[in-house]
Symmetry: C2
Subunit: 261 residues, 2 copies
DNA sequence: CGCTTCGCGATTGTCGAAAATCTATCGAAT
DNA sequence: ATTCGATAGATTTTCGACAATCGCGAAGCG
């Protein structure tokens, strides 16, 4: 009774390439999670382009699963911010609009600044060394115009002190905000323009982390501003800048939408 | 062509005694949403105590729905942070731990401060009047020891400038962070201790909003700090405090490491 | 007597089909 | 020719049943 093989002869391949891990010895994973993982990768890798609809019937056949776990996986992806679910319409891969970027950066900047402040003093030598390595790799990638390498190491650099902030809620939120690789595609424009400046800022940040008696507040503002400034470089507008007079708005609040929930 | 949704008269006759809404001719809402709404209220109202398991079979019978929309509603509630789903175990109403509070306040303070800064200059006279009214109601509630009235008006006060920040992402995150009424139960301890001070702070905040040439940064810090300080009053620890001399710290985050779910 | 193993009831996970709903197309009337 | 309405197709939503798994208690073993 222990090694009860799958009596059902039909094979359950989760991905075309052949991932039949259902009957793996220990696979405590629920189908929903596996589907969610596969779709997450597909979206992040760009296999599923933004805007495309996730047809239940197609995916059901392609993945060899039923509707129930598929639909629940959609909810998971919605929670991650990767898809949007329109009732009675279906699930669509989230499209990143200019507004999304303009809204994301200020929030992310503030929270990463907070994370940096909280992380100060909690970084062990290993962490600092990793950040130093990542920064050097960023510099090399900048010289050789290796965008992907730059992106990876830039992400690693931030990952270190974010993970060290010891606030799981903060880590979770930032993970969602930094999920889309698209952020890096757009911010690439900025990096291209001010590559040297971006590197300088990260050098300053790392030095503040390394130094003994740094001012956590200075560190926080440095991290926050370097993200805010990236947004300003991108759009010219200062969606997060401190002062915006009430006169120069483009569209005032369109009515009061009382979102009951 | 705007896929405008028709105004739906909210009447949640889904819970309570029974539920004979299935056969109602007009039910534009998807069942999952209705279930999610009912359960959300039940949790927030305290009908479902933290830690209790949401039995699929029981709820299925009580609500008169099938398991599919029920399970999808669980995912929605998980997204809202109201329940936690353990694979092959079930869905449980989220329990708020001390650590959750300690992690929530710094993030919330930071983001509400950001929201205040962004909202400055975007508040119309109507908004300011509402905040003034809410603040006066808070003062009255404070004198008469009406905790619930204080909580409601305090929430309203913050709702105004948060909704005015014009950053939907920020609004969405803060909505989730401020979802639990439990936050207010715990912060009640603080309010009880420093009632007058809390009122003074909100008076200052409102005055900065009302004044013409206020410093948005000052406003941001005021909002942020008044939340951070609430946490300090609660626990004594300064989990988010800015000034912490690297020399005088000692606690390497001792307790509250457990809570492994 | 303590520990492990087995079995049973309870609960969640998965499935495929039926029902409800939406979108698109075609046809008719103005 | 254009607009409105009805029909058909496609898709989502919901359902009830079956299968897999977990927790707990009892029995077996050292």
């Amino acid at each position: 009774m222990p090694t009860d093989r799958q009596a059902d002869p039909k094979e359950k391949s989760l991905k075309g390439t052949g991932a039949r891990f259902i009957t793996r010895g220990f696979s405590p994973q629920v189908l929903t999670d596996q589907i969610s993982r596969v779709l997450t990768e597909s979206i992040l890798d760009g296999d599923l382009e933004p805007g495309t609809q996730l047809l239940e019937m197609d995916l059901q056949q392609e993945l060899g699963v039923s509707r129930s776990p598929l639909r629940e996986a959609f909810r998971d992806l919605e929670k991650k911010g990767l898809v949007v679910i329109l009732p009675r319409r279906g699930a669509f891969v989230k499209e990143i609009t200019a507004r999304d970027v303009q809204e994301n950066f200020p929030v992310r900047g503030n929270l990463e600044g907070l994370a940096a402040r909280l992380a100060y003093g909690r970084l062990n030598p290993q962490d600092l060394a990793t950040m130093r390595t990542a920064l050097e790799a960023m510099k090399r990638a900048g010289r050789s115009q290796d965008r992907e390498a730059y992106r990876q190491n830039h992400q690693l650099f931030h990952d270190i002190f974010i993970d060290a902030c010891d606030n799981r809620l903060l880590i979770e939120i930032l993970q969602k905000l930094r999920m889309h690789r698209l952020w890096y595609f757009v911010s690439y424009r900025y990096q291209k323009l001010d590559f040297q400046m971006a590197l300088d800022v990260h050098e300053q940040i790392l030095e503040l982390f390394e130094k003994e008696g740094s001012d956590p507040q200075e560190l926080e503002l440095l991290v926050r501003n370097h993200i805010d400034e990236a947004l300003e470089r991108l759009f010219g507008t200062s969606a997060s800048s401190v002062a915006r007079r009430p006169g120069e708005e483009e569209k005032a609040k369109p009515g009061s939408r009382k979102q009951a929930e």
